[in-house]
Point group: C2
Chain length 245, copies 2
């Protein structure tokens, strides 16, 4: 049967999702736990290959296995075989042809900026500390230009190789919760570093370096050089992945 | 001059506040940073000797130094000499006879319980994960019995040596924020492990093992054996320390 897992992780100690030679990854830890559980080599296929240091509350992956264990029990058996910074929060049986990269999906990411005068050591792992006061209202105005179907070439790492840089952002919201500014982006897919470049650009808007309405031009330029810097990975959390029917 | 520091830390990687032979402590890291900054041996005196694994957003300590550096700049110089899990959020000059252990003070602690079906790896360091549904209403009712001046012997680690186990709890509040239950305790001082034993007892109330009104008896027994277990250190954060005038 084909099984879908929903996986939460603190990405601090990992070289991102995807298996690679130079460091431990989330995918590798899941493969090891599954291989240990089912005593046969298993390789998962993930929905989102999150970067080194990026967190997730709900990444999705699939694998095939021949077992009598009910799919919904697999998460419990896996969690006993995983380190405490990776937790499988759901497991269920899916159709044999279900593939998270080839279905229409809705992904939600949040970028968190701790905006105050001193860092908070208890929130240092999943927020980006920013000292100067940011104007949330301006960031909100700028975020509106991100929404819709656009060619997001200006918001894509310059070295990325993709067929098309057109994506649809369903919503780009900015709000403050205590001293954390949250940028929540919902879309059908994101380019390499796209959310972090959006965050870096909105920080420039909040600090007054870029006017909110300039976002329109930055998008139209289709040139990475016009957007803001790529904000640090630790502030980014993948919130959820959902199939769109 | 005598200088007061306000210190925030993630206690995960420390053997508590107080210098001790078997592991690195917050006090030791502050002493090292101050000694390095002022090129003379300095030892701080802390307001609260928090336990191994306990966090703080505002512990207080003092030290004496002969320097022309303005007291309010010291925090910045220190933060450059401290690891990122310890942050001095304020420094100021105080009276030469000010001593945080010999003044009347108000301390606020929070105990955080992540109450849901799966752990959240991004909040594993400063919440205690609890699987079974807790009844927050009952916990709130029980918490009311904690308030006031009482002999808290039942809520003190059995091996603690203190002159008196009478303390005043100004407020003991229980509330839920998303899937985290917060127990906020404000008092003029706390016995060894007191807030963690209060938390362990309120968890027993929330799970139905202890009735809210039984708290009255537990206090009256003056015997550690009648209260609940000591909840894990990682869920506890010292929020603030304030001098009472």
């Amino acid at each position: 049967m084909r099984v879908k897992l929903v996986v939460a992780y603190d990405g601090t100690n990992y070289k991102g999702w995807q298996v690679q030679p130079n460091g431990v990854t989330i995918e590798e830890k899941l493969n090891d736990a599954l291989t240990n559980l089912f005593k046969t080599p298993i390789n998962v296929i993930g929905a989102s290959r999150t970067d080194s240091g990026v967190h997730s509350l709900g990444n999705v992956c699939i694998f095939d296995v021949d077992t009598r264990m009910p799919a919904e029990k697999i998460c419990f058996a896996l969690n006993q075989r995983l380190p405490e910074d990776i937790v499988v929060i759901d497991s269920c049986k899916v159709a044999d042809d279900f593939h998270p990269r080839f279905v229409k999906s809705k992904k939600v990411y949040e970028y968190r900026i701790l905006n105050r005068k001193f860092p908070d050591p208890t929130r240092r792992l999943d927020t980006h500390f920013y000292y100067y006061d940011l104007d949330v209202k301006k960031m909100e105005q700028a975020a509106k230009f991100i929404e819709g179907e656009h060619d997001f070439k200006s918001f894509c790492a310059a070295n990325a190789q993709v067929k098309t840089t057109v994506r649809t952002v369903y919503a780009c919201e900015v709000f403050k919760k205590d001293d954390v500014i949250i940028i929540r982006v919902t879309g059908n897919g994101f380019l390499y570093n796209m959310v972090r470049i959006i965050a870096g650009t909105l920080i420039k808007v909040g600090s007054g370096d870029i006017r909110p309405e300039e976002l329109k031009d930055i998008i139209e330029k289709k040139d990475r050089g016009f957007a803001g810097p790529t904000a640090p990975a630790k502030g980014l959390t993948m919130i959820s992945w959902e199939e769109e029917k």
